[in-house]
Amino acid sequence: MSSKKIRIAAVSFLNARPITYGLERSCDAANDDRFELSFDLPSRCAERLAAGEIDLGLVPTAAYATSAHELRIVPGIAIAGFGSVRTVLLVGEVPWTEMREIALDGASRSSAMLLQLLCRERGLEPRFREVPHAQVLDAVRGTTGALVIGDAGFAAATRFPHVQDLGAAWHETTGLPFVYAVWAGRPDVVDGEAVARLQASLDDGLAARPLIARAWSEAHGGDPALYESYLTHSIRYRLGAEELSGMAAFFARAHGAGLIPRAIRPRLFEGAAPTSALANRSRGGMEGPRSVDALLADAAAGGRLSPEDAMRVYLEAPALELGAAADQRRQMLHPDGVVTYIIDRNVNYTNVCVTRCKFCNFYRPPTHKTEGYVLSRDELARKFQETVDLGGVQILLQGGLNPNLPLTWYEDLFRWMKASFPLAIHGLSPEEVRYIAEIENMSIRAVVERLIAAGLDSIPGGGAEILDDEIRHAISPLKCTTDTWLEVMRQAHALGLRTTATMVFGFGEEPRHLVGHLEKLRALQDQTAGFTAFICWPFQAEGTRLKLHDDTTAMRYLRIFALSRLYLDNFPGLQVSWPTMGPEVGQVGLRFGGNDFGSAMIEENVVSQAGAVFKLGAADIERYIRAAGFEPRRRNMRYERLAAA
């Protein structure tokens, strides 16, 4: 990075104050040698970025989606809301459905696009009229409503008979947060040091929220307590995995509604490994060892467990106390008591594989005369059509490492799938991606880029087993190393793909291996926020060549599952594995930290040939979820909730 100053434009609205708080002070205090800070309206920030007048801007997500340039996002920072935000309101004298015209505040791009999107999805077609910021409220009369943003929302909330919080409306529809604005710039302008400064600025600002609220009230009038509660409870400043899912869902839906030309993916600056806000919360080594009770209470409240603490918790905590802590943590992360599930289908496109993992009874070597297969287009088409007919939204597409299938085979397949079926492609585990790169002699990144261009939507986290090379070598010597597995995921996340992560235990590993696995996932997630969910299950030994005699019982599963919920504090979702554990234990897992019941259809040869025989339809899944005290909802791969079919 050159020593050239980074020109930054930020916004001076109340909800942006915490983000720039630290920057302002350092840029003011000394002639800062890295940053040059100015303030503007959000829409202007985007325009100036496009014009090359600045390098980095706090821009509305809508502007990010429509920018002609390829923009990158600073990891870890956003202005977002989870549910009601109180400053993005649709107000009127008549209900939303009766509005014929809606006045829009020209200063806000994201909220305006969100409103348009929500209208279209509800089949409403009001006229939209842009008016200056100061005149928005005056426009409200009869069937003309107005979209009020910013501080005006506080006053407007009680002035009109009909008030709809758009943040809440988005959350009700999707179950995800909505991201209003992010730091964005062109790919090469920001380095790791700059990201660290921006994050430090936010950290200072978050700590100074009472001061910010008081200063704002002195300058603009109003109740400082209201401002403080707004900054503390209504706005989320973290850009974590859920927020990225929220952005991706917004772009996909806006594209579906014809509001933006492409469904782009939010992409982060790379090589900028931030220390996440969460990482900072981990305790220093000053205190003496703490009781397991204290560790559990801390983790249940969202505190970060160190690897050593995690081992103690795993080995010493009584089962139900561990479960209760995980349940409490789940409750914090998913307070509305919803448990999601997906309708998808596992399709194993080929069983030809060169890897010969000892635990796998699914593969056939390329030399096998009769039993190797590659599914034909006809067979695939039948499976895909059945999936669509049953309400499925996604195909989990995995297979062996087949030396006869070049990258173009996958590209053709994906293009054909996308053109013919309304299904998302959740496909090719890191192992398969790595193998394609190997036989094509290409970089992993180049392979992922081409697969994305052909239609790949997300990558499943399979093949992780235990991310420890000693164990990996013993059970699947030809499989990719820990680093390669993580690297594929890192590249996929960098290119804007979301992925899941898995862990298979019961290979005779020790607690330190399990915790090490979780630590590697958590560390990568701190940097990329690209994982949507974590799934673990015990190795299914029946019918395979591995005889391990390890503990794969229900209690061990539940302990590891609960520990994972506590340890993976930056993972939004934890999926129970009913296909391997059975629906009863899967259901109990919902009380040990789980918030997702997985998939309603199963055709997973790798597991089912090893003796897992459970099958559940959507109605059964909903029954299990309800009996556990939760409300079932269908979702897609982004964990975006879908309307029931």
Binding site: A324, A554, M555, Q587
Partner: protein
């Protein structure tokens, strides 16, 4: 923790009996793990980590039954009906011989049958005495209260006479089956042909009075209400206060396949665990709570060891009643497997006899470590 749960905890700690309202509140409490933890506290106070099992064999000598209970997939009305069977005495005795010859000895036989209209009383006494001849020390836990009551009526004897005659032939204790749900509303719908709640309780009262121990059960997860479950347990508790003769309570999850209640879904895992926890808290005077793995499934049964249960039943062989109703569990577990499941749950296995005398525990059971930790050594590949 809610105020209700706190007050229930205080009662549980001081040994004060819980009320019907308490039981219902425990069923309705939203946090399953809080209820479980409370039950676990009681369980650990009574038994610590000890978890009991025995080596046993099931004999269901006939499935011909005059009654037509709606939940029953096992019974056939007439001897000639499809699937109907009645073992000859030799056949029934052969089950025990096979077990002995197979080098797989047992300490208990659990015998439960249909209400066969044609078998003479001798059949039953001969069945018992024959088994005792083969293995004099074997414990015979035989005939539910429903069968005893049926014998009394059919053979014109008093309950006590029936029990005394059977005891003379070798009967050692009574199993707890046939209780179902005591509420008349439910009995009328699911087992109208069976003895009433009072008759069931009377059989156990008499058994306890003449010195026989027994178990008790509850069949849940069909048409009964939560209040009816609690009421059922409280009636058992009242008899226990009177006699002290119950050893173990065994909640039985309804299995829907192949019976007249097929349209009902049956209880799910969290409902099973909840029932175990509530039972442990309500039945403070019944020492043991059995997670019957045959019907719960091994995984849920293991989990139940943290929700109040302290007993996994036995190694069992030849279970018919639940398997004809769709249970997919294996029909037998080796002692080493049961030990492994208990150890893996973080509990201490104890092999018992039917009356809970300890036969083996500690190193005697766990010395051959059930699994190894060395990765490389454990990778024995059979290919």
């Amino acid at each position: 923790m809610t105020a209700t749960l706190t007050s229930i905890r205080e009662k549980a700690r001081s040994g004060e009996p819980l009320s019907l309202e308490d039981g219902v509140a425990l069923y309705r409490h939203p946090n399953l793990l809080e209820v479980g933890a409370l039950a676990n506290e009681v369980r650990e106070r009574l038994h610590g980590d000890r978890t009991f099992f025995n080596r046993n064999l099931h004999i269901n000598a006939t499935n011909v039954c005059e009654a037509s209970c709606a939940f029953c997939s096992f019974a056939r009305l007439q001897p000639g009906d499809a699937g109907a069977y009645t073992m000859s005495l030799e056949e029934a005795w052969g089950k025990l011989r096979a077990r002995i010859d197979g080098g797989d000895p047992i300490t208990e036989i659990h015998i439960v049958n249909g209400l066969h209209p044609g078998l003479p009383f001798d059949y039953y006494t001969d069945l018992l005495s024959g088994l005792k001849r083969i293995q004099p020390g074997i414990h015979l836990k035989a005939f539910t209260a429903v069968e005893i009551f049926y014998f009394a009526k059919k053979f014109g004897l008093s309950i006590e006479e029936v029990l005394q005659k059977l005891r003379a032939a070798g009967l050692d204790s009574l199993p707890g089956g046939g209780a179902e749900i005591f509420a008349p509303r439910v009995r009328k719908k699911i087992c109208d042909d069976k003895c009433t709640a009072d008759e069931w309780l009377e059989v156990h009262r008499v058994a306890h009075r003449i010195g026989l121990r027994s178990n008790c059960t509850m069949l849940y997860g069909h048409i009964e209400s939560v209040e009816e479950r609690v009421d059922h347990m409280l009636r058992l508790r009242a008899l226990q206060d009177e006699t002290g003769g119950f050893q173990t309570f065994i909640p039985l999850a309804f299995h829907p396949d192949g019976n007249a209640l097929m349209k009902l879904p049956g209880p799910t895992g969290v409902e099973d665990l909840r029932t175990y926890a509530v039972a442990r808290l309500l039945l403070h005077n019944i020492p043991h709570l059995k997670a019957y793995w045959i019907m719960l499934g091994v995984k849920t049964a293991q989990t139940a060891l943290w929700f109040g249960a302290d007993d996994l039943d036995g190694t069992v062989q030849e279970e018919k009643i639940y398997h004809m109703a769709g249970a997919e569990t294996p029909q037998v577990m080796r002692p080493a497997e049961i030990v492994r499941i208990i150890v893996n749950a973080g509990r201490a296995p104890v092999e018992r006899d039917t009356l809970y005398n300890v036969l083996a525990e500690g190193a005697a059971l766990t010395s051959d470590k059930p699994f190894r930790r060395d990765v490389r050594r454990s990778l024995e590949v059979v290919s």
